[in-house]
């Protein structure tokens, strides 16, 4: 691995730490901790600008830097950590693209919109006696399950991970075992917390035992996913450079760690501080900005496609158009806004990783 790649991985891990600090700050409302998270995020994002010279990494650098610049939002920083690691380990082939860079920035703002929407939801629900962060922690656990399944495929269910370094398949039972344990652990956490939140009526928790076990299962899953990321990178040969699918696998596991890492502090603190109305307003503005940026990225992608491939209708522009339409739908609706913003983030993310 090159020095630049290693720097990006270190920056990614620092962004992961910033995400946890930001989540803690959101839970206890301490301003100095929020400033610390912002400082760590900016310090981690600055060296990533060096990777803008790598064509294949531009979109992920754009994502990570924009996410750090836009504020210490835990979810956005968690996904930025994943993007930074991906920028470091992904093959550098390709040509420089403004459209990819803009798409990365769009993705970061979409992640901010989702994060602010979720935190607004949590902050609003703390005002009356009602539900707590168990729902979001359960959703984070379910998201981690999905990511582990996407990384390992059906092989995880047989305690196996198959990598294809240099085109030849290699079975890694150690990575498979840790991935399967991560899956079971995150599934257990998601189910326990989800069941507890579903059963809750007036009190915040029906079963403190289920809540405690779910929380611990999620923390265990985060640790296991972290180990799995290193094992997957090792079996795929990260010293010589990873192929794109394996780089995606490593980044997916870092994202799983980040998702759980930013969901658990609110669960531990049993509360989320913040102004729900302000967070929702910011999420609305960001949602609109996501549509504008997606259209700008599509415009740039169309010009690049016309110049390079001879057509403006490249797969990237089509996916960006799709993301812009989903984002427009999300900015129109007032019901299920958080879900619509998650869909927008998914559509932009899909355009980035494909």
């Amino acid at each position: 691995m090159s020095a630049l790649g290693l720097t990006a991985v270190v920056c990614g891990l620092t962004l992961l730490a910033a995400s946890v600090v930001a989540a803690t700050a959101a839970a206890d409302g301490r301003l100095e901790r929020r400033r610390l998270a912002r400082f760590i995020a900016l310090a981690a994002a600055a060296p990533l600008l060096l990777l803008l010279s790598r064509p294949g990494a531009q979109s992920f650098v754009g994502f990570a830097v924009a996410a750090a610049l836009a504020g210490p939002q835990p979810l956005a920083l968690a996904l930025a950590a994943s993007a930074a690691v991906l920028a470091g380990v992904i093959p550098t082939a390709g040509v420089a693209s403004v459209a990819q860079l803009l798409a990365g920035v769009t993705g970061a703002l979409a992640a901010h919109a989702v994060g602010r929407s979720v935190w607004s939801h949590l902050a609003a629900e703390r005002e009356p006696a009602g539900r707590d962060a168990a729902w979001t922690a359960s959703a984070a656990g379910a998201g981690a399950c999905g990511l582990v399944l996407a990384v390992g495929g059906p092989g995880v269910l047989r305690w196996d991970y198959v990598a294809l370094p240099g085109g030849a398949s290699a079975h890694a039972w150690d990575a498979g075992l840790v991935l399967a344990l991560t899956l079971l652990s995150s599934l257990a956490g998601a189910l326990l917390l989800g069941a507890d939140a579903l059963a809750a009526t007036e009190t915040s928790s029906v079963s403190p035992l289920a809540r405690m076990l779910g929380r611990r299962a999620l923390l265990l899953a985060a640790g296991l996913a972290f180990i799995a990321a290193f094992l997957v990178a090792a079996v795929a040969g990260w010293i010589d450079g990873l192929l794109r699918p394996q780089a995606m696998d490593v980044a997916g596991l870092v994202a799983a760690v980040g998702l759980i890492g930013c969901a658990v502090p609110a669960l531990l603190a049993e509360r989320v501080c913040g102004d729900a109305f302000e967070e929702q307003q910011e999420a609305t503005v960001l949602s609109r900005l996501v549509v504008v940026l997606a259209l700008a990225a599509m415009f740039a992608g169309g010009i690049e496609g016309w110049l390079r491939a001879g057509t403006y209708l490249t797969p990237l522009t089509q996916r960006l158009l799709s993301a812009a339409l989903v984002g427009f739908a999300a900015s129109e609706t007032t019901r299920l806004r958080t879900l619509a913003r998650v869909l927008t983030l998914g559509a932009v993310g899909w355009a980035l990783v494909r």
Partner: protein, 288 residues
Amino acid sequence: MKLGTPLAVAAMALVLAVAASPDVPVLSWHPAAGGVLAGLAVLFVVSLVDRRAPRRLVALGAACLALALGYDSVRGEKGEITLGPGQGTRTFDEVGPGGRALGLHPLGTALAFEDLQPDGAVTLADQDASRRIRVSPARAQTVSGYRIGDPRRVPSGGTRLLVRVADGVASEATMREGETARIADLDVTVEQYFPDFALENNQPFSRSDEPRNPAALLRVQRGASSWRAFVIRAMPGIHRPEGLDRTLTLVDIVPDEAARLSVSREPAALLAALGVLVAAVGVAWSRW
């Protein structure tokens, strides 16, 4: 339900988003899918029109984009050409919406393959315009109204054999089946090539077209004398015909490569670009 309600607009946008994605081949599901989508796009544009100026701008942008995409899918042309060494063409393989093959379409000029470079760039000769064009992964070119770009290497199906003749000093040459090459003082001809050599009843044959165990029957001539030699890549350096003081080796096989290029003509590209810009301005101008 009224057409302009947020829920209806959001629902239409979501359906159009799914249709716009290249990962969901909606147009290939049913021949009528294109018409249904065009109708939905019109409804979407109409639903966006209201009294507010920014909203009208979004509607105008969406209308331009929808019109451009519709026009290019009906009147535009899209396809591919595949050219190998020594080949030329006056047509391309046209594909319609949803990837349906539409057959050959005239290109309006004669293109001949000249060179495929290591960086993936292809040099073509435009014979009617008497000029050479270089198409690279970073730069498409316009040829008689068509944009030609995105060159990719593809196997052309042919194979060249790298044969070595050694008598202390080794000499090599590549040739196709049926070709003759001069190697040192010998004329070597590839009489027959077996990509996946096997024996049955003492007769050589190929189990498949995949080069898993390549072998070849060679005819070697020096003056009036001639020999036949069987060479297998898996057994290098052992083939020495009786009476010939040379060792023959099938060193390797080199698959022939061709270049596949995308061909497209999109007359409404400018309108599409304008539509995207206007829609972006409209969304940015909307109430935040």
